[in-house]
């Protein structure tokens, strides 16, 4: 049953429904007909009984019964199906037309017509009995009328035959109709399938049109289109990333190759070789570091960065990082200030790295002699860490791009710095996002602020 096609299922269900309705219809028709026949029979019997009672009312003594016989015969004898038996008070049968039938005994009915039915061989009977008071007789006569209703049987047999034939035909017809309806009803689904089947990495831009799709399928189609959007977005990012990687690795590789070839092109003194090897080593370390950073980002893209969950006092982490950056700041007479405190649940190494990247970034753009401020604010629902530094404002349209891979705020980046390959802020963002936090940048009036916001965990110990 599981493997049946949707079309087959729907037509099957349709067929079952049609047949069930037909069966209910036929059954009600049969019951109604039966009831109708029965009431007709009752009516006939009641009429005959009343007429018999009137005739017997004219009886002038039991010995004159024969006088009434022609009347009774006229009333009761003409029917092929009707048997009438009149017996006297002493039980003697006075009248029997057309013949005597032995009816199972029943209590006689008084006012209303009460009938009972029985079967004798191929015949079905319905009978009624009434006691009728007769003039000059102390005890009433007993009138028994028996109706042979066997004629109804072939009718109902016929009905049943018709019913089965009708059921069979309606089954076949409804199955065929159901199949046709299901096929046409499911056409939009096949259209979706066709589009889905045609999609490859080249045609990720294609979308299933939602207008001609019935409302039931809107949800499916829009989720499908949503999936395509995400795939397309991911694919574009991936291809851009690969292109970036190729580009970023190409530059140091070119340096390495040209430099090495030039050095090898003629005999040189040992210092030149040493110089070449050292320069190669620098370049190689840069590449190695870049690959490590890119792997981190790739892992974070795949949700493989799973931070440990510890409650961390952010101000302590910042203090340690400020101590670390102190020598660099001191050299350029930059002051590092920390204010506030707060707790973040997360991974100690990753948070160090995230904040470190922001500080390193701030140091790079802060003019000598200025101050970098780190402010930690603990709110009701989140902890906010702001790293603020004076410097050239970043245009609004670039603020979002800052967190893109290989994006560099300063086009003339420092070649010497091994960290500044444009991945630092991207890594910070992926760490923040792995902690379910958010990061953004604002820059105006000569001050640039990077905000990181980490939501408190649901438990109460997060508020600290």
């Amino acid at each position: 049953m599981n493997r049946l096609s949707l079309t087959a299922r729907i037509s099957l269900m349709f067929m079952v429904a049609v047949m069930a309705v037909a069966a209910i219809g036929a059954l009600s028709f049969k019951l109604l007909t039966q009831h109708h026949f029965q009431s007709l029979d009752h009516h006939t019997l009641a009429e005959k009984l009343d007429a018999t009672e009137r005739i017997l009312g004219q009886l002038n003594g039991i010995d004159n019964f024969e006088v009434l016989r022609p009347q009774l015969t006229a009333l009761l004898g003409g029917h092929r199906d009707l048997t009438a038996i009149i017996s006297g008070a002493d039980g003697r049968v006075l009248f029997a037309e057309p013949q005597l039938i032995d009816a199972p005994g029943r209590p006689p009915a008084r006012d209303t017509v009460q009938t009972w039915a029985w079967r004798d061989g191929a015949h079905e009977y319905e009978g009624t009995i009434r006691h009728i008071a007769v003039p000059y007789e102390t005890k009433p006569f007993t009138v028994t009328l028996i109706l042979d209703v066997s004629e109804h049987v072939p009718f109902f047999e016929k009905l049943q035959q018709w019913f089965w034939a009708g059921l069979l035909i309606s089954g076949v017809v409804s199955a065929a109709l159901g199949w046709m309806m299901a096929r046409s009803g499911l056409r939009p689904l096949r259209r979706v399938t066709a589009v889905a089947a045609s999609i490859s990495t080249r045609s990720l831009k294609e979308r299933i049109p939602t207008e001609p799709v019935p409302s039931d399928l809107q949800q499916l189609v829009s989720s499908f289109n949503g999936m395509l959007d995400r795939l397309d977005d991911g694919f574009v990012r991936l291809s851009n990333f690969s292109a970036d990687i190729a580009h970023e690795l190409r530059t140091p590789l070119t340096n390495l190759m040209i430099h090495t070839e030039v050095v090898l092109s003629k005999k040189r003194n040992i210092e030149d070789y040493e110089e070449n090897l050292h320069s190669n080593l620098d370049e190689l370390k840069r590449m190695s570091r870049m690959i490590e950073d890119m792997l981190f980002l790739a892992k974070s893209d795949n949700g493989l960065i799973i931070p440990q969950q510890q409650n961390l006092a952010i101000e302590q982490i910042v203090e340690r990082l400020l101590a670390y950056y102190e020598p660099v700041a001191a050299e350029r007479n930059i002051k590092l200030k920390l204010a506030g405190s707060g707790i973040v649940q997360g991974d100690v190494l990753m948070l160090h790295r995230a904040i470190s990247n922001l500080l390193s970034n701030a140091l790079r753009f802060t003019p000598d002699g200025e101050t970098i401020r780190v402010t930690v604010r603990s709110g009701d629902e989140s902890t906010d860490i702001a790293v603020e530094n004076p410097g050239e404002p970043i245009p609004v349209d670039q603020q979002e791009k800052l967190f893109d891979r290989f994006y560099r705020g300063d086009p003339a980046r420092r070649e010497g710095s091994t960290t500044n390959v444009g991945l630092g802020l991207a890594i910070t963002r992926s760490i923040v996002e792995a902690h379910r936090g958010s990061i953004w940048c604002s820059s105006e009036l000569g001050r640039t602020v990077f905000h990181m916001e980490f939501p408190h965990p649901n438990c109460s110990d997060g508020a600290g």
């Binding site: 080593l281 570091r289 101590a323 670390y324 660099v328 190494l349 160090h352």
Partner: protein, 227 residues
């Protein structure tokens, strides 16, 4: 000190052997896990350097069987896979350290020396001297040529590290980790600046120069006569 290097990539193995030999160690080299286990069980090594992915027995298998045989030789893993579960697995099995490829040779050398030192109980020193530089570790004071040198706490910690491991090239990452407890890939430009500032205080105006740069590899502290 005798080391065993098990690395299935012949070039890496050969370079490691050369580098470690030139650093003063006796180095045996094998190309697969089975040989590594055989050597480790039959010869007394001070340290094993095992690649994780090797034909035959992998590094973890070698370690497990070694520990099962009751050998407590320290093991340093080299791995190209940086996954948390790999680290956990290695450390659970009793690995002493791991390095992720690509790594700097100076880093490996520093880790090897750390591991080899771990076993020996270095007597607690309160006082250290090199050339005319005297350092009082208890009073946190440094005196060169009779002159008191003012150092910040971190500068003193850096000097102490260089002194304790004098003659060794210390990579920047190791310095960041030991002095500032920065155990992640941080901006190592900071270390350059910090060493430069320390050097200005220790070496400027004095002879001989004690703090040296091993270009591209790290820093070391040594007196000229010990070269």
């Amino acid at each position: 000190m005798k080391l065993l290097v098990a690395e299935d990539e012949p070039k890496i193995g050969a370079y490691l052997q050369q580098g470690l030999s030139e650093a003063g160690f006796t180095v045996d080299r094998v190309l697969n896990g089975t040989d590594a286990l055989q050597h480790a069980l039959s010869d007394p090594y001070d340290l094993l350097i095992l690649d994780v992915m090797m034909p035959g027995l992998d590094g973890w298998e070698v370690l497990r069987m070694l520990r099962a045989a009751g050998r407590e030789t320290p093991v340093l893993f080299l791995t190209a896979r940086d996954r948390v579960e790999d680290r956990v697995k290695g450390l659970e099995l009793g690995a002493d350290d791991y390095l992720i490829k690509p790594f700097a040779f100076a880093e490996l050398l520093a880790r090897v020396r750390t591991l080899l030192r771990r076993g020996n109980n270095v007597p607690v020193q309160t006082h250290m001297q090199i050339a005319d530089l005297e350092v009082d570790l208890l009073k946190r004071r440094a005196i060169r040529n009779g002159k008191r040198i003012d150092l910040t706490a971190k500068e003193f910690a850096l000097l102490e590290l260089l002194l304790r491991r004098r003659g060794e090239v210390l990579p920047k990452s190791l310095i960041a980790s030991q002095v500032w407890d920065m155990n992640f890939d941080s901006d190592t430009n900071v270390i350059e600046v910090a060493v430069r500032r320390l050097r200005a205080k220790i070496d400027d105006g004095f002879e001989p120069k004690l703090i040296h740069t091993a270009r591209g590899m790290g820093y070391l502290l040594e007196a000229p006569e010990s070269k």
